[in-house]
């Protein structure tokens, strides 16, 4: 058996104090000057170690407090309060919620799975991925040694076109040509960011991260410079310029290249293949109502990998957009109906914000996923999108150290990998490849609602 895929993690401290859910308000006026102040009694020494970050004026009190409420209860003049922090509520937006952002920060810092305590206090169902539940029927007991123990669960996936049958020569030798396939140990590639501060440090963090994890990061052709060029074996170049400027030597150092879905992406694929036959060509397709027919057409024309992308909220294009999980199901099932699904690799991207979204999108039919914003959030991004407007980043992402950034990405991916193993283990599935399209092992709120209430209200 091959060695287990394991991601090494190490603590990667935040550069800035965290924005926490609640904060301490301690009035100084009215202090009774007790002989023994309750602040001195803090068992975490929060008040004694108090510091103020002068870049953001964030008080260490808020991030160091462990919410024991000892000081709040014991101050005789009730001068210490805890209140919800409005800065926390203002993080992100309706999709990239403060809870998601703070959990991504935690995972990137520690590499550990966030555990919220006993029980789940959230809503029963919600929009998007929250309307989908995975089958956890195989949880019959706690495993003796957990997900990192003796149970072998593979998260490896293949990227490339698959041969449907092998042809053998008279001597038993394989005569059919098998298309090139690239194996990645984690069903994740790093996508281009919808917005980011300028500079090379963020792409470099992604590339260092991809190198450490054994996966790939998509880099725009127009962004290639001598520094990025050093990392080409871990990069997927997205052709956003003149394809003629990509010479054969450069192509030979690549394993995968991505072309936009334009007038004739297959001609571009053939052109690159003629220069480097072992290259896997990915076609980037914006998700839309026409994606199923377009995918089928491209597969029939010989496409190897389709990268189906939604926007940063997981929505496709068009006036009445579907969420990525619905459209991915639609495309996958259409290709299954036409008997071509197994020939091609589908990669889904856009709106992937949490580890569970990985498993859910794979269940909806993706072979692998591309992620973008969570990688930026792992480096303390607050999803304020100031960089998009040309305003300086509040956490200075433009001068982040790429090695620190890659460590944070590695930690985040380790936490996501562990969660994927948990889900696969709980479903009794031993391979991420087997999870693809396993819709029978999941429940969809919309379907259940229809099933239960469809007949109600009908007369006769």
């Amino acid at each position: 058996m091959p060695p287990k895929y394991h991601i090494e993690t190490s603590q990667a401290p935040n550069r800035f104090p965290k924005i926490t859910r609640s904060g301490i308000i301690a009035w100084e006026e009215g202090c009774l000057k007790c002989a023994r102040c309750v602040k001195k009694d803090c068992i975490y020494q929060v008040y004694e170690k108090r510091d103020l970050d002068d870049r953001q004026m964030l008080d260490s009190l808020d991030s160091a407090c462990m919410d024991c409420f000892r000081c709040v209860q014991n101050c005789p003049n009730r001068l210490i309060h805890k209140g919800l922090n409005p800065a926390y509520r203002a993080l992100g937006d309706h999709y990239w919620t403060p809870e998601i952002i703070s959990e991504l920060w935690f995972q990137a810092e520690s590499g550990r799975i966030p555990v919220s305590g006993a029980g789940y206090g959230g809503p029963f169902s919600g929009p998007g991925f929250d309307a989908m539940w995975t089958d956890m029927s195989e949880i019959v007991r706690p495993t003796r040694d957990g997900i990192h123990g003796r149970e072998y669960i593979s998260t490896t996936v293949d990227i490339g076109r698959k041969a449907m049958a092998l042809e053998f020569g008279p001597g038993g030798e394989i005569v059919s040509r098998t298309p090139p396939v690239v194996e990645i140990p984690l069903p994740v590639i790093f996508d281009m960011l919808p917005w980011a501060p300028p500079g090379d440090n963020i792409p470099l963090s992604f590339l260092y991260g991809a190198l450490a994890l054994g996966t790939f990061a998509i880099v725009r052709q127009s962004a290639i410079n001598p520094i990025i060029r050093e990392f080409l074996p871990y990069a997927i170049i997205y052709v956003d310029g003149d394809p003629g400027s990509l010479h054969a030597q450069m192509l030979r150092s690549l394993k995968i290249i991505e072309v936009p879905d334009g007038e004739d992406p297959i001609a571009l694929q053939k052109r690159f293949k003629s220069m480097h036959p072992e290259l896997v060509v990915m076609i980037r397709l914006r998700l839309s109502p026409g994606a199923r027919e377009r995918s089928l057409y491209l597969i029939e024309q010989g496409a190897e990998v389709l990268h189906l992308v939604a926007d940063e909220y997981g929505l496709e294009g068009g006036s009445d957009p579907l969420f990525i999980k619905e459209r991915m199901k639609d495309v996958h099932l259409h290709l299954v109906d036409r008997g071509v699904r197994d020939q091609v690799t589908l990669i889904g991207g856009g709106g992937i914000a949490m580890a569970e979204h990985m498993a859910k999108l794979i269940i909806c039919g993706a072979d692998a996923l591309s992620i973008d914003i969570p990688l930026l959030v792992s480096m303390e991004c607050r999803v304020c999108r100031r960089c998009k407007e040309g305003i300086s980043c509040p956490v200075g992402l433009d001068d982040v150290d790429p090695l620190w950034g890659s460590l944070r990405i590695r930690n985040l991916m380790a936490a996501w990998h562990s969660q994927l193993l948990e889900i696969l283990g709980a479903m009794g599935i031993r391979e991420a490849r087997r999870l693809r399209g396993e819709m029978g092992r999941a429940m969809f709120f919309e379907d259940l609602e229809k099933e239960i209430f469809a007949t109600m209200g009908k007369r006769g």
């Binding site: 002068d54 004026m57 922090n85 409005p86 100031r386 407007e389 040309g390 300086s392």
Partner: protein, 147 residues
């Protein structure tokens, strides 16, 4: 000469209750002035502490403003009154070390002032510069300027 043309670094602490859409409203001025202006939203002006004010001066701010709700209109009843006393104490402290007390100022919003924090900041910047570039700035830890 107004504060904008005088090239002063401005730090503005303000109560979030003043402007529900503060994050969007201050972006235009932040884009225009870059790192010369820094906004620090507070849950209530009563959350301001001496440390905030002195640290801002130390980090290279030439003028520090605290924009608070009108007196008697604090959501937490007396937050802006407590803040006023702290501002006065901070002014006294910086005067003791030879800086002008006018470098720290509290502004209570009035009915005549605009509702959004970006416009309030523009009004503050349009005021005559009472002080020049802070002598602390050359020795500042440069965090205000760099970050």
């Amino acid at each position: 000469m107004d504060q904008k043309t005088a090239g002063l670094n401005i730090a503005i602490f303000f109560c979030r209750q003043l402007d529900a859409n503060q994050d969007k409203n201050r972006r235009a001025i932040e884009k225009e002035l870059g790192l010369r202006i820094r906004f620090f939203p507070l849950p209530c002006s009563g959350r301001i502490e001496l440390l905030h004010l002195l640290r801002a001066i130390e980090a290279g701010a030439d003028v520090v403003y605290l924009v608070a709700c009108p007196e008697g209109a604090c959501r937490y009843r007396e937050g802006n009154l407590r803040a006023k006393r702290r501002i006065m104490f901070a002014q006294k402290l910086i005067e003791e070390i030879g800086l002008e007390g006018a470098r720290i100022e509290m502004v209570n919003k009035t009915a005549e002032m605009p509702a959004d924090i970006g416009a309030i900041a523009m009004e503050l910047l349009a005021r005559d510069a009472k002080v020049s570039i802070s002598p602390v700035r050359s020795n500042a830890v440069a965090s205000f300027i760099e970050k």
